[in-house]
Assembly symmetry: C2
């Protein structure tokens, strides 16, 4: 079975681990978000790709969900002594090694997809990890700033998220998205998938940014495979992170049903909402033309996460069967 998932960072990576546990024999392709990428100290940093890579490769700091386990900060302390760089973003030494390899390969002319493949080779990743695009697409967020001309300014997503802790957002802008193309393999992975999964990643700045790469939304919507998503909103709030702020910026209510309708029935075939908090949303989602099931959606353990992924695959199989093109979901 071929499974293709569109994933953001921490939440997406954790879900993917459950997906691999639920379908150990599946051939999984992950299309990763690059909207959070940035250049710092001259190093090209891809937070979401790296979080997926470290998580599935066994190098992640489990407690925080991002960054490397047993990390050290020798370089960062010294950069601070030089008085350079922002004080709200600290790069670990092991992490810097990844960025050095990436930056040097990009500088030598390799596209991000080739660089990502090279980095993943070392991690013996159990999935194929593709950046959504080889072009630069950077998520910027428009925020209020009384001192700025016009009272607003745009900041890079990382600054918005990490330094500013997600204040009210007025708009989300994908800088460069107009000229971006899906990276090699992305459209094929969507077209050839038996199941397409949207993990409980941020629907605006993670999955949304991937879908906004010209060609990807159309490919997912037109795919023969069922497209099944898991709500990142449980009980009217994000399970993790600050998705409520960026949902508000694009005019979407912070509910499990509203996110499903934001993706829309032309894209989404199935949707999972949390059984405890959002069982009442099932009818609203189904009324919008999207098959919906209520199951536990808290990734509180490896087993709970595996069960969530299993439920998504089961729903996909059910949808495929009802479409008369049933394939076994495992």
């Amino acid at each position: 079975m071929h499974i293709t998932a569109l994933a953001g960072g921490v939440g997406g990576a954790r879900f993917l681990r459950g997906l691999l546990a639920a379908a150990p024999d599946a051939d999984v392709t992950v299309i990763g978000n690059v909207g959070d990428d940035m250049t710092m100290h001259g190093l090209r940093i891809c937070p979401d790709l790296d979080t997926v890579m470290y998580t599935l490769g066994g190098g992640i700091h489990e407690g925080q969900g991002w960054g490397r386990v047993d990390e050290t900060f020798g370089v960062a302390e010294e950069l601070k002594a030089y008085g350079v760089g922002p004080d709200w973003f600290t790069l670990g030494d092991k992490d810097i090694a990844t960025h050095l390899v990436r930056t040097q390969m990009l500088g030598a002319g390799y596209p991000l997809s080739a660089v990502t493949e090279a980095l993943c080779t070392r991690w013996e990743l159990p999935v194929r990890l593709l950046p959504s695009t080889d072009e630069r697409v950077e998520t910027h967020v428009v925020v209020d700033d009384p001192e700025a001309p016009g009272g607003r300014r745009a900041v890079h997503f990382q600054e918005y998220w990490v330094r500013m802790h997600a204040p009210d957002a007025r708009a989300i802008v994908s800088v460069g998205v107009e000229d971006a193309k899906p990276a090699p393999g992305v459209l094929e992975a969507i077209a050839e998938a038996d199941v397409i999964v949207l993990p409980p990643s941020n629907p605006v700045v993670s999955v949304g940014t991937i879908l906004n790469i010209p060609g990807i939304r159309q490919a997912v919507a037109g795919a023969t495979a069922p497209v099944v998503g898991l709500s990142p909103i449980v009980g009217g709030g994000p399970v993790r992170g600050m998705a409520d702020k960026v949902l508000a910026a694009v005019g979407v209510d912070v509910t499990a049903a509203a996110v499903a309708k934001h993706y829309g029935p032309e894209l989404l075939d199935g949707w999972l909402v949390d059984a405890d908090a959002d069982a009442s949303a099932v009818a609203e989602v189904e009324a919008a033309g999207i098959a919906c099931r209520a199951v536990p959606l808290m990734m509180s353990s490896a087993e709970a996460t595996r069960a969530m992924a299993r439920a998504a695959l089961d729903l996909a199989a059910e949808i495929a069967a009802s479409h008369g093109s049933a394939r076994p979901a495992s």
Copy 2:
């Protein structure tokens, strides 16, 4: 008093510490060698400038004479896990911070002289450290290689020195030297000096590379200040390093007198040889038209190094007095 010194790495930096102790009120400008510079993992590395900076800034690893004290190797271990980079050159984490700042500033368009000044600000350096040139001048060494076309190949000096441990050299080539210009301040520091000092650095690949930058040798030879050097050769061998190999490559005998004559009386006014091993060389050097004194030349302690520097300044004062343009040497 203005003192200008042309310095290489470890030996030059150690001597400079003695010079500052011998002339604590002097205004010292150091013209540093850039021939050893290289790019590794995309980082621009200036070993000699950094050794001077770390030594005089109090950050050097005293035992080895280069690199940082209390250094860690988190990045290097991880780069090794990625399987990239040469295994004969290991960058420490603190050192990498220096290279990140440098590389980013160079990438932003700042010349090496401005970058070096910025880096030195953090170290509150008691000297003004200038790269000999802002252009790239890389020392390559031609060595025997039976498998190479023609039986020889050229390697970067760092590879020759660090990886190959200085085998017999057939030629020393300064790649890019023809197009290099002295960095801002270099010619002024030579012209305005009261004393010009050649520390016991490598006469070929350190001081020689500096002198070969078009304009620098002429400026030193034409300076009003006395030019005094200290022999890096004691008793027929280098005090430190493998200078014998590169001296042979340029056809110079490995003796204190031969090095003085290699610099030549048109450049050098005074020369210090080791009192224990080379007192007999004094007559030969003086016969070549260079004032020569025999003093202890082993930098075995801070006090011994200070005394060497004091002897160099005393000889400079003596030479200046004999030229009828005496200036106090301290």
